[in-house]
Subunit: 540 residues, 2 copies
């Protein structure tokens, strides 16, 4: 029997089925349930079942799905709009069950703009998830074809691989040919929300020349992607003409691709960013499909030297302004953040974003805490990601070992996802999330009791944990042995320690130093009586 | 010509030759010098040259090398003793050149007990290094044979491999057979200080039964290792009889091998820890050889659940007492720390240790910030290590991917060392160490200017950085290409951004938003004049 299995918890109606990975334990404990992003699985050609289809249909055309803005009635089937009206959608209830919280709490956090539930009405395949500082910290994995590496099947497989290891959302950053086709396959096979940077495809439509970009081309691209079901879109509307020179004097200038494209357009036309001047039109389109804004930080620092500078914070102030405009239209919004930041400058980023953006969710890339380790930036950035998550960042965009060097392959995607699941969980522990430590405690208890199979099954990566153990001690008996290869059978600290625990275990009445000393004297008699044989098991 | 080479800086006398890795840069900058721990290299059978032999001989028998304690004159050739007398030893000057600081500052930090310079008089092969919070953060790598894996040659090779990648000290934790012989080969081939846990060998001498341990066996083991040249020794003198029951009620009890052995001894004899009762005799022996104490944290937490508990902090208070006793004998001392600690409980560990131990250097194992990722504990712990380093920990003991699962092989040792060099350097950046950021800035500048070879040569791991780049773009021209595989030639943000930099570069006079707008208008004329051709290079 497989000790790790997928189980579903049912909500208030039969079609609310919330997935978990259930781990059976051999120590007499109840099974433990872990958050599961892997989805139901599917044949890539067929696509996933449309979990949300009925929920979306029930709401279609209802009065509750429209909003009046400056006299005009607009379609507005957004989770934020429903939440503000006090409506708990099936999506909100799904999230509540998934996070182990009250549905009303989920609704209130969304209504306040402190959390978003990305769910395009044209992406019914998504299993609802939530992004907000008062929920489990989420992670995003980037995939996508490029001019020099281009295979639709490979990207769909990366998507499935990323969600298997725990990616909560995936961004399709495809450039080059087949962008539309690649995205279609990704949408239909994704159990998690999909994000994009529409500017990349718009640029393809004008043959890669930023100068030729214009609002019409961009708007058509947005609508094309909205129809396919993209759940959130990165929009670089904060890169204003007057900010560009501030970035030009940096060590690494502008490192955001979208940011550099818009900066190039602004300079070429010496006009204000058209994404900024047409922002309210964008809001109307996003409201109609329930697309969430991911306000891009086009001027994020690209090096330790440029962290927290004028260009970065000037743009952040504009993102704050744009956040409040999106809320006028009941459009969900989160803000993107750096990038490259040394540890002592990380907290300021979260505090300022939360203040300027009315506590809208923060979504950061890393940050990398040093620039000296290309090929290990999943580690340089996991350090910053764990800290910024603890400080209140809601979602962490992964960085793979290939960052700054090349395109991530299958193994790089896994390394990046695992490093970020570690950062996110470390943040949840530090934030004191109610359910976070239960997982650590279960694994620690299994470790102390030498229940190797339980340790492997509870591990973030059971395969590798088992593989590493077997390298030194392959024999099956070693899986139940009361020692490991680190100390060997004779000197195992856990073994000695558990013997001690038998003497002074949880049931011990001993509470003060005096009582302890008294207790010791009593115990000594027992030792003598059994000829100090307490430690004989060690040399078995 | 090799862009990375070993160079030596000479001190005030010809035999003070301080090693650096020098990296030549192609951007017109001066070469950059990086801290180098790799040593001069040697034939394992011959051993390394005795760099410090003359310095030690010069001091032998001098009045400055004795101390009078409670009426008795004791041999005391310790760096702390010389520092207190205002003497700057060649070792201190070597360290000053190595860290880019004044020799007098080095002496003062050692005299204050805030830093240690581990240098057993019988280990003349060491290249002097210093451990203290006001210096570069150091890292330690553990190696050693065990009952189930036993090869002298393999351990010497791990030593050389660890120092090649940046280990500042190495601990030989050998158990099983050939402990003495293994250590002898390690000592004679080590350019870095070697630490041990003498209790492991003492236990071998009583056939692995903790109950049979006694002071005489332990003392003889200490002297045997002192004669071989061990530079610092972990002594578990803080595990007091009355603390044991406090640990017995934990989720993971006692996870320190030395701690569990002494706890077993205390319980079996219901007597106080003999390392505590004979501590002053230990101080006299350590003084004679200039061995530094690494006061062991035998009761460190072994899980998130047990972090910062009564048992841990009770022992820490005793370590504070022992630190001040060691200083009576002018013996150098540092204190060991956890272990497993969630992020929000890390700072308390450093603050309390610094307060109780009079700012003696703190030396921590990680800490791991979560228990759920066996096989990735180099990452779970690099997060905690970077933070605790920033907060003032002087040396970080590495954790490899095999932690909790098996014995690290060659590749695991490298993964652990690199993860910890990242953590240590991130800490130096956050502490604002004067020379730390120069390395990041050099690499960032090379990155922005597409000087790929410079990026590889400046990388913590040049081999892997080059390998990862070549996986996607192997062609030699790509090494100088003004793009990378991430965006491809057309959409490279760095490329666009550097074009912008040409327009508004460091020489730009523009300082205010108004001037910028004015500046933009002026620039627009130039754009028009050249037919908006600024971005044509992009599509080359």
């Amino acid at each position: 029997m497989n000790a790790r299995s997928k189980v579903y918890a049912q909500g208030s109606r039969p079609d609310i089925q919330v997935p978990f990975t259930q781990v059976e334990l051999s120590g007499g404990e109840a099974p433990i349930r872990l958050y599961d992003t892997s989805g139901p699985g599917s044949d890539p050609e067929v696509g996933l079942p449309k979990l949300r289809e009925a929920w979306i249909a029930e709401r279609a055309g209802a009065a509750a799905s429209t909003i009046v803005h400056e006299g005009a009635e607009l379609e507005c089937p957004t989770q934020l709009h429903y939440a503000k009206q006090g409506i708990v959608t099936p999506e909100m209830e799904f999230v509540a069950v998934r996070e182990g919280l009250e549905a009303e709490f989920v609704r209130a956090e969304i209504a306040a703009g402190r959390a978003i539930l990305p769910a395009n009405v044209n992406h019914p395949e998504t299993e609802p998830m939530i992004i907000g500082k008062n929920f489990l910290t989420k992670i995003n994995a980037n995939i996508g074809t490029s001019a020099v590496s281009d295979s639709v099947a490979a990207e769909v497989e990366k998507l499935t691989w990323a969600t298997k290891w725990g990616a909560d959302t995936v961004m399709d950053l495809s450039t080059g040919k087949h962008i539309h086709e690649t995205r279609e396959h990704i949408m239909r096979n994704s159990p998690v929300p999909i994000g994009t940077v529409p500017l990349y495809q718009a640029l393809e439509k004008v043959n890669g020349d930023p100068v030729k970009l214009n609002w019409e081309v961009y708007r058509d691209t947005i609508i094309e992607q909205a129809e396919q079901g993209v759940d959130y879109m990165t929009v670089h509307a904060g890169v204003l003409l007057r900010y560009v020179p501030l970035a030009a004097r940096r060590v690494t200038g502008i490192v955001s691709r979208g940011g550099s494209i818009m900066a190039a357009w602004c300079l070429a036309h010496h006009e204000e960013n058209f994404l900024y001047t047409h922002y309210r039109e964008l809001c109307e389109i996003f409201a109609k499909y329930d697309i969430a804004f991911s306000l891009g930080d086009g001027l994020r620092p690209g090096s330790i030297a440029d962290a927290n500078d004028d260009a970065q914070f000037a743009e952040l102030r504009t993102l704050g302004e744009l956040t409040h405009i999106a809320w006028e239209y009941d459009v969900q919004v989160m803000c993107e953040g750096p990038g490259h930041v040394p540890m002592h400058k990380i907290k300021e980023n979260v505090d300022l974003q939360q203040e300027l953006c009315g506590e809208a969710p923060f979504y950061t890339l890393g940050p990398l805490t040093t620039d000296v380790a290309p090929a290990y930036d999943h580690i340089t950035s996991a350090i910053g990601a764990a800290m910024i998550g603890w400080f209140g960042t809601a979602m962490l965009c992964y960085v793979t070992p290939k960052e700054h060097l090349g395109l991530p392959n299958r193994e790089d995607v896994k390394e990046g996802v695992i490093a970020y699941k570690i950062a996110a969980h470390a943040a949840d522990l530090a934030k004191g999330h109610p359910k976070a430590q239960e997982w650590d405690d279960a694994l620690s208890k299994a470790r102390f009791e030498f229940r190797w199979q339980d340790q492997f099954n509870l591990a973030l990566d059971p395969d590798r944990a088992r593989e590493y153990h077997d390298e030194t001690l392959p024999a099956e008996p070693a899986k139940t042995a009361h020692f490991c290869s680190m100390c060997g059978p004779k000197f195992c600290s856990m073994k000695i320690s558990s013997s001690i625990k038998e003497q002074f275990g949880p049931d011990s009445e001993v509470t003060s130093a005096d009582e302890v000393t008294a207790g010791m004297l009593a115990k000594s008699a027992e030792f003598a009586a059994q000829g100090n044989r307490l430690y004989l098991p060690m040399v078995d």
